[in-house]
Subunit: 125 residues, 2 copies
């Protein structure tokens, strides 16, 4: 007679993982941040802004080839999260990456992740 396999099956591994894994709260904040980047418009906005000192909304819409509404909406979320700052000059608003924005890391991950394996197969159907 062996084991009924009640959990935990591997108490040691469970404890090792528990000691290291992000708390639900930390993971929630992380997810909010990643969710902000998990959008084509917002990711491209940050990418575009990392190439120039600053740009206004209309020009960003031209760069991304999307509506100004979409740009404005995306920039608002990024601004509320503190990832970009805005400067008003006349009737236009210029946006730039916020000071302290981890631009090297961001660009590194960006280029690296877009070049990753396609990853679209099952492993054990």
């Amino acid at each position: 007679m062996v084991d009924h396999h009640h959990h935990p099956v591997h108490r040691d591994r469970v404890e090792a993982a528990r000691a290291r894994v992000l708390s639900a709260e930390e993971a929630g904040r992380l997810a909010s941040l990643l969710g902000l980047l998990a959008d084509p418009v917002r990711a491209r906005l940050l990418d575009a802004l990392s190439a120039v000192p600053e740009l206004c909304v209309g020009d960003l819409a031209l760069v991304l080839n999307v509506t100004e509404d979409a740009v404005s909406y995306g920039l608002r979320l990024l601004r509320l999260a503190g990832l970009v700052t805005s400067r008003k000059e006349g009737r236009m608003v210029f946006y730039r990456l916020a000071p302290g924005f981890p631009e090297p890391l961001f660009e590194h991950c960006l280029r690296l992740l877009t070049a990753l394996p396609r990853a679209h197969e099952e492993d054990d159907p």
Copy 2:
């Protein structure tokens, strides 16, 4: 009399940004990947699996303190994306990070992003 400010306002910057910015298609694939990580359960699943060789669904539920359904669902999406692999042993299924998973980068970003400034203020209301 100056300019009526038709776009592009800064043709040079627009062109510089255009030459560098991710295409809509690339950004779409990137967003799919980031969206996968932008979930507390899935992020913690990967984090937990990076601490041990492998774990079964029930044990992972214990580690994260969530339902087995949530774990199963999260693992399914991660598996379909090729980020984890599964191995069936008896009536339980063990999951591990897929070979080629960028674990060092992932953990680095994980710890770094969770320690970032809270970033919750306006800049120019």
